[in-house]
Symmetry: C2
Subunit: 388 residues, 2 copies
């Protein structure tokens, strides 16, 4: 996406996640911040005074600080938008109107601008102005209700799926609008209006298909598959491993591989249905057997028999693993303030992508960008000095 | 994406999710199945003999059945690919080579074809040929390790985030390649190689940022926010609700709103840090107070005070809610075999999109598509009769 300029008025997570990905594909991301900066800049923990939360999400971006409460700050933003391809924001609906960025303003400034918003519940409707956080949309959507221990309480999904899913959907929407504009010649494209709530529903498409057409109300099921077994974590002599038999024909091979050929034709376990009915018993039998060796032994044995399996890693064990090294899971950036910092690599960045750049210090690119926009040094001094 | 033809050799979840979304944006999706059909067609539960799992994911697609083990089946696929914009598959790496769809085959047939693959661990490397399922990548990536009850066992995320995240990333990759080809004039684009494992890592960017740069190993934290409170579910006289105070200045307003002004300046709770340290006590105090009224009362009270909040819905309560109705959460399709069926609407489909079409019966479009490719009736009869 070289040559695409994205003016990014987002903060915290959903929008910055979206523009992190678009930046990893080569787009130029200009992060516009108020003089206080993105709230995420003060989100702990820190390293060398830099918020890790912020630093992970804002790689490969430039930071422009403007006081959008002042007319000349808004005017500078408008000049920038006139040069841009995409405008993205994740403020509460209505707020951007006060910053001179209503739909009408944007189209007047740049009729070809691709416009994208992420909000809790979309730009319109009775919930539009409601504040929302990840946990609010996880709770409202039904997401929490299918997550957690078997029969237990609804539990928030441990990563911020409410934000991250909306960032992914927004990236899709932006790319589709750019395609329409630049490949199909559309003079103007409709705004991308991403609702975090609707994105959670889209993640729950299977749960809703079951409820709407068969009356099933799914609840938390822990780590067990509802209709297959083994398809869950098992203990070993050291760490738990997941074993996941994908089809009926895996059962015999599995029994042979683990050295329990006696189980293969055991009438309680041989066929899928009785095996499911006897899963508690099977768990006992397998648990006792698998505890005889450590996880490394079983993972090697199962992989050799082409049985899908994995260690149940934690963040440290996978980060330090040969797998993370081989697959170049992480990229390292040099920060101006401190030493190098490492983060997850974008999974869709091209292999020959240039090295990632560290997240910008607040306003580090303000003067350069104003200069590019044709401002004189006196004007720049006035615009870029805070408090004003 | 009108006029974009996507030849879809994916099955089950990750790939079909990706093409469901691209279809909802107007692309033509031709689902190529072997005579047995996508495995998901036999995944329970069923309505009128139709798998709900399959029916949700395969809306707005055409079904072409070909026997790719036969040379003339492969030849028909190749003729189709010569007319296509995108090829997508989610087989185990290497398998498509045997179907005449290696990278070399595809580029020979159609040098401009955008090619996309989703696999457990990417097309290359030591794990490439390993079978993978959602739970395997959730376990290996570290995803399970941060999900579940506070201090409890690592727990599979309740929806198939391993598959769905990879489908979303793949849609982004495909759109970016199409943009490069059709807007920037690239004669050929590198393949989109989506690794489910790498997509899980991307979802976990925050967890890895903490570990890699501050040595923190996050574990399951249930539904509590690690650094804010109230930011979690609370009991009421009937159902649990989530209350999420976004900033320090919400606290006073919250205490007033719930009729506990005495708490506002209580030294144990007034400031963020002591409040966090005394959260168990606060939970007791709030729990006792909130149990005096039902959830509807509290949600109204809190919303009026602009405190972010929500019912902790289950799939039924949100599906039957005014919110789902107002926001048109679901779309209804007419099936040929049975009555209407309802599913989650694509969150990025245009508002004026035509009504969704039901998932296709196995091979329902085979003859039409072969005819469009210029096959004569005799050839069509031979190609479309199974078993052959």
């Amino acid at each position: 996406m070289q040559g695409i300029r994205i003016v990014d008025l987002t903060s915290v997570l959903s929008g910055p996640y979206c523009t992190w990905l678009l930046g990893s594909l080569g787009a130029e991301i200009i992060k516009v911040e108020n003089p206080d900066g993105d709230m995420a800049r003060v989100s702990p923990p820190f390293k060398d005074g830099i918020s890790l939360y912020f630093a992970s999400l804002n790689r490969n971006k430039r930071s422009l600080v403007l006081d959008l409460k002042q007319p000349d700050g808004r005017e500078a933003l408008h000049r920038l938008l006139a040069t841009a391809d995409v405008f993205i924001e994740n403020m509460r609906p209505g707020v951007r109107d006060r910053l001179g960025c209503s739909d009408e303003d944007l189209l007047r400034i740049n009729p070809r601008l691709v416009r994208a918003s992420i909000s809790g519940f979309g730009q319109e409707g009775s919930l539009a102005r409601r504040p929302a956080y990840d946990i609010v949309v996880q709770a409202m959507s039904g997401m929490m209700s299918i997550n957690g221990s078997l029969g237990g309480e609804p539990t928030r999904v441990g990563f911020s799926v409410g934000d991250i899913a909306s960032g992914l959907f927004c990236a899709i929407g932006i790319l589709e609008r750019l395609y329409r504009r630049d490949a199909k010649g559309a003079a103007q494209t409709p705004p991308v209006d991403v609702s975090m709530l609707a994105c959670q529903w889209a993640c729950l498409e299977n749960a809703f298909a079951r409820y709407l057409n068969a009356g099933i109300v799914p609840g938390p099921i822990g780590s067990r598959h509802p209709s297959f077994t083994p398809f869950e974590p098992y203990p070993t002599a050291d760490h738990d491993i997941v074993i996941a038999l994908g089809s009926a024909k895996d059962w015999g091979r599995f029994c042979q591989a683990i050295g329990r050929p006696d189980l293969e034709h055991d009438p309680r376990f041989e066929q899928d249905e009785p095996r499911l009915a006897n899963r508690d018993l099977l768990d006992e039998v397998l648990g006792a057997h698998l505890r005889a060796h450590p996880s490394a032994y079983w993972l090697e044995t199962l992989a050799a028999a082409a049985i899908p399996c994995s260690a149940v890693n934690n963040i440290a064990s996978i980060a330090e693993s040969d797998i993370a090294r081989e697959y170049a899971a992480f990229s390292t950036v040099e920060t101006a303030e401190g030493g190098p910092m490492s983060f997850v690599r974008s999974p869709i960045a091209p292999r020959n992508a240039p090295p990632e750049r560290a997240a910008p210090a607040l306003g580090q690119d303000t003067r350069d960008i104003l200069r590019e926009l044709g401002y004189g040094e006196g004007e720049i001094e006035a615009l870029a000095t805070f408090p004003r």
